[in-house]
């Protein structure tokens, strides 16, 4: 069979780049002046400015992590940490400048907002350019704002929770984030309020050689529930871009939060993101994650089950192609009795791409009767790709039910033959099998995202089959 070699796939709509236009682009590099300038641009309260400066010191004192992917290509001196778009924050799409609006139109955001979302935030480079929520949620006391507005309008709530779930000294890129963070979303769902239509924030990084450091802080108060969707993408450049966002989630007693993510970074992106959730009594957080793109990803969402009977489920898929090293996984801390966690992770690697599932399960001694079940499956589409599983289990009590299952596989020739005997080309057959492999994950995503994920898989597989 003839081999089609495609060096780099056309990512269609995701690769449409706008001119690097901005109202202000910070000089490259990172130092006290840069941090102070960002703080000034943001009109930070004193406590936030202090937090930024302290974080910078922590950043300077910490080493790069050496246990994972090679980060030597990342030079902070070449990265602009703050790029202010030529747009203010708007509450109507009509007011968003044409170029920027076109980008979000192409990504289908305003359309999705009309059809299936209760609220939308859209960030372009370092600033949120659009934020809006349905009237009835506002009436119920739900708060959905860009992070800067939240710092101003809900100072106590923000100060009490900001960088408390993820401490500044967690690792080097958290410290970096805390020093230069900009944009992101804040959600507060009051006690007992059930938000049954999802909110979505979309983060688009357009500017080359820059970083995006959005901060997402969500508080779902007692007995409340929410589905939050996060989308990310960027066009491809030849130089390194950096994403070091931070997500802090507080799921209070008896509350429920579903946090869905589709990340589709371009292949020059270093994605060093941090996400954590603190989960109260009989509360639950479910993570659904699709990680596509990026040159390097280090992303390990964590659930900290602090309340008795707290639950978490993680459903994630990672797809690594040529030149990509995606190091992802899920971490769970069982800190209370009767807590439970279910992990279902899948990865696909092709053309020399590497997927690592790096996980932590910690069960504290007091977490009697904890239950944890982990399943990771990987699919390698050729012989040059890599897939590794690095689980760390730290279990301090005997009264625990724990299971771990790992499977590494290839597409079976029998399946290909079966599908081709029905008239499908080899390419169609493989794509169908890969979509089938991803199906347990994609079926957990909202319909439009499941479709998007299938399109991403098709795009990834196009032309790459020998």
């Amino acid at each position: 069979m003839a081999k089609t070699q495609v060096e780099d796939i056309n990512r269609n709509i995701y690769d449409i780049k706008n001119e690097d236009e901005y109202a202000f682009k910070m000089q490259k590099g990172l130092n006290r002046e840069v941090v102070l300038e960002i703080s000034k641009q943001k009109n930070d309260p004193d406590w936030m400015r202090e937090l930024r400066l302290k974080a910078l010191e922590v950043y300077n004192s910490l080493e790069l992590p050496t246990w994972g992917p090679d980060l030597s290509e990342l030079h902070m001196d070449d990265i602009a940490t703050y790029v202010k778009p030529k747009s203010k924050l708007n509450t109507s799409w009509d007011d968003v400048p044409e170029e920027i609006k076109k980008t979000f139109d192409t990504l289908g955001i305003p359309e999705a907002e009309k059809k299936s979302l209760a609220g939308v935030g859209a960030q372009y480079d370092s600033e949120v350019v659009y934020h809006s929520m349905k009237e009835d949620l506002l009436k119920q006391g739900v708060v959905y704002l860009d992070m800067e507005s939240a710092v101003r309008e809900y100072p106590d709530l923000v100060k009490e929770h900001f960088m408390k779930c993820v401490p500044v000294n967690d690792h080097k890129f958290v410290a970096l984030h805390a020093a230069v963070w900009s944009g992101g979303s804040f959600v507060y769902v009051p006690k007992g309020v059930k938000v049954d239509i999802p909110l979505q924030s979309y983060f688009r990084l357009n500017s080359p050689e820059s970083g995006q450091f959005e901060h997402t802080l969500i508080i779902v108060d007692e007995g409340a529930s929410l589905h939050f969707i996060e989308g990310c993408s960027a066009p491809k450049y030849n130089k390194v871009n950096l994403h070091a966002g931070c997500v802090e989630l507080y799921v209070k007693d008896n509350a429920y939060l579903r946090y869905s993510t589709i990340e589709n970074w371009s292949k020059n992106m270093m994605n060093l993101n941090t996400k954590k959730a603190i989960v109260g009594k009989n509360a639950q957080i479910d993570w659904v994650t699709g990680s596509f793109g990026s040159k390097i990803s280090m992303l390990y969402p964590m659930s900290i089950l602090n309340g008795e009977g707290a639950k978490t489920e993680y459903t994630g898929i990672t797809f690594a192609g040529k030149g990509q090293n995606l190091d992802t996984g899920f971490k769970v801390i069982h800190n209370a009795p009767n807590t439970s966690s279910v992990v279902n992770s899948k990865s696909i690697s092709k053309e020399g791409g590497s997927c690592t599932y790096r996980a932590l399960v910690r069960v504290a001694e007091r977490a009697k009767n904890a239950k944890c079940s982990v399943s990771c499956e990987s699919l390698m589409l050729d012989d040059i790709s890599r897939s590794d599983t690095i689980p760390v289990n730290d279990i301090q009590t005997d009264e625990v039910e724990f299971s771990h299952e790992a499977k590494i596989g290839k597409i079976s020739d029998k399946e290909i033959f079966y599908l081709m005997s029905r008239g499908l080309s080899e390419e169609d057959a493989r794509a169908m099998i890969v979509r089938g492999f991803a199906y347990p994950i994609s079926k957990e995503l909202p319909v439009e995202y499941a479709v998007e994920m299938n399109n991403l898989i098709n795009m990834e597989l196009e032309g790459s089959i020998g």
Binding site: M1, S412, D413, K414, E415, F417, Y418, L419, M420, S421, R422, G423, L424, S425, E426, D428, A429, M432, I433, R435, G436, F437, A438, Y439, P440, S442
Partner: protein
Amino acid sequence: MEKLLEIKDLYANVGEKEILKGLNLTINKGEVHVVMGPNGAGKSTLANVIFNNPAYTKVSGSVEFEGENINDLSVDKIAKKGVFMSFQSPEEIPGISTFNFLKFAKGKITDKPVKVFEFKKQVEGFTEELNMNPKLIERNLNVGFSGGEKKKNEILQMLALNPKLAILDETDSGLDVDAIKTVSKGIEMYKNDENAVLIITHNTRILKHLKVDFVHVLVDGRIVKTGMGELATEIEENGYKEYNA
């Protein structure tokens, strides 16, 4: 009579192992052929080699379909020529419903957009004739289907894709009497003067419900005897002993 399939002096291997050792077979339009033989004789190999399954190697000889040599055609091209195979063990494919799969395959095979409403009614009609649970076609292709449901689903695909030559590899095995009757009914519905059926079996039960034109006995990679329906009866009584090398 118009030739549909002609296999000439075919030798084929799996790895280093010789399996077909000079096999000849001609099937004309409008005919129903049966290939019988003991386990391991090479029956499934024959079906796979006609379809040019890359897991098998043709060493010499030829497979012609409607006068064209299809030795080196890819599996999907052979399907598009009008060859179909009902698998001994159909694969389970999650992520796509049986109906959507059929619609997709129909579009590929005919190279034309499928008229969805019409096609759906047609497929639903077939499921009824085959006594299949109508909800089955909404479920992921073969996923969690029972053995019998999978076999019926193969016959459903045959009817929906409407090939010129249907090769049925052990479609009858593992089925109860009622299911065998239903499958035979499916074959009768499909059959016409323009197409042909090649039934592969090690068992004569299905032949009681079907009108058959030729019976071939395949032993050790060759067709050692060809006869009419009564050859099947004879084998049922005496087994393959007399043909063993």
